[in-house]
Amino acid sequence: MITVSSLVKNFGKNRVLKNIDLKIEAGKVTAIVGPNGSGKTTLIKTILGLVRPTDGIIEVDGKIVKDDYLYRNKIGYMPQIARYPENLTGNEIITLIKSIRNSDEFSDREILTSLKLEPEMEKPFKNLSGGTKQKISALIAFAFNAKIIILDEPTAGLDPISSSYFKDLVIRQKEQKKTIILTSHLMNEVQELADEIVFLLEGEIKFKGSVQSLLEDKKETKLERAIAELMSQSNSDKGVSHSGLSGI
């Protein structure tokens, strides 16, 4: 489980995260959604240790992760933009990461085949397309069998076939009780994959609960419409919206 307590992050005078309290449950897919600039990427980067919190505590499996880095052995991360040393190959990057991670678990065969990556792995990154680099990021995120998987806009840049396979991969990981956190602007994707949804607006959690409870609360069948309604309600009220079933 990941617990975020009183998390604050300022970038200069700009307060991007405002006292976030959040428990991300183990074994579920939690989608963090919100408009651009709401703090989604900052939140997940704080969990990863890429961004230093101004205040607050982050715990992973009960351990505070302030200056620690070994806890990242439990995490697989797929960034929004995939960029690697241009003269190295995919295989070299995989070998590097394998040597860094204290893990004997590495299973890439199925992912390599399904994402059609095998012929690309010996080419230098400068010769690969953006979509292929994104697929290699997905490989790195999933192949180490990490307990926690964090995906930042995962299907951006993937072709429809790869995107479909990727979603199947997420569902299979969920069946294995992995904890998955994803950010996405694609509400149909969130509706398909997520169990829990966290809606961020201007650095605050405006909604946390199950996807189903949000749909019922807003009397919508499409998550996109429910979120749009939540956003316009939040903009007009500037208040907090709680789910009837599981609030913040």
Binding site: L48, L50, R72, A82, L96, I100
Partner: protein
């Protein structure tokens, strides 16, 4: 240390495959080869090489280092999401950039000397120039990393890098001349030694020139320089100053890197 070694090896692999490092190596080879072909006098070749080294190495190092760091940002982000501490990653990236560039210079610089059989003619000059080139590479890579860690905007960072090179390579000497002109009635020799020590490019140049008795042409100041920089203590202090020019920017940039948001 193990993590540093792992990152370092991969960074070196990445850097040495860069066409710019290959061109850089070839540039020094071409310059050395051309000088020996058309000149034949090893002393003149050394002086010419020194003048090229103290201008080109700082410029290429500071720009290459800056561009490399900015272009590596997303890769650094990806690596920091792995179980690796920031210090090891930073050291690995720094050495992985500085070592190949120094090696490129060393190789390109040395081959003409070997081909023309000139290494043993002035072996201490050869070693000194090689050392100065390598130290200047590390100094300006360290400065480039300091700029790139602190300044997120790539164009501002590159602009600052070029400005620093310009100040140290060109403007600083003008500043020294200004002081000499305005305070010419005062004994400035010790002040000149201190001012020279504050600029790694000047330090490298003076250290090397002392080997060639050019000091005799510089009057009393030259004699003072020769007395200080030509002595063993002077050489040791100069090398320490050059090392400080590496250590301080490196230390500062690693501290900033440790706290930086990616």
């Amino acid at each position: 240390m193990k993590l540093v070694k792992k990152i370092l090896l991969y960074e070196i692999h990445n850097t040495i495959r860069s066409k710019w490092v290959i061109l850089y190596t070839f540039f020094f080879f071409l310059v050395g080869y051309g000088l020996f072909t058309f000149s034949g006098d090893v002393n003149k070749a050394y002086i010419s090489l020194m003048n090229i080294i103290i201008i080109v190495i700082p410029l290429v190092s500071i720009i290459f280092g800056s561009i490399y760091f900015y272009n590596s940002r997303e890769f650094i982000e990806m690596m920091l999401s792995q179980p690796i501490d920031r210090k090891s990653l930073f050291i690995g990236i720094f050495l992985g950039t500085a070592i190949p560039l120094s090696a490129g210079f060393a190789l390109g610089f040395s081959i003409p000397f070997i081909l023309f059989g000139k290494v043993t003619e002035q072996i201490d000059g050869f070693i000194l120039l090689l050392l100065i080139g390598v130290l200047l590479t590390f100094i300006f890579i360290a400065l480039s990393f300091l700029i790139s860690v602190k300044q997120d905007d790539k164009s501002k960072g590159l602009g600052l890098a070029i400005l620093i090179w310009l100040v140290l390579a060109v403007v600083y000497d003008g500043f020294v001349l200004l002081i000499i002109y305005n305070f010419q009635d005062y004994p400035l020799e010790n002040a000149m030694i201190i001012l020279s020590a504050l600029n790694p490019i000047d330090l490298g140049r003076i250290l090397f020139l002392m080997k060639f008795d050019i000091a005799a042409l510089m009057g009393y100041t030259g004699a003072v320089f020769q007395r200080f920089f030509g002595s063993s203590l002077g050489v040791i202090i100069s090398v320490i100053c050059l090392l400080v020019w590496i250590i301080v920017p490196f230390y500062l940039s690693s501290r900033f890197f440790k706290k930086k948001d990616f």
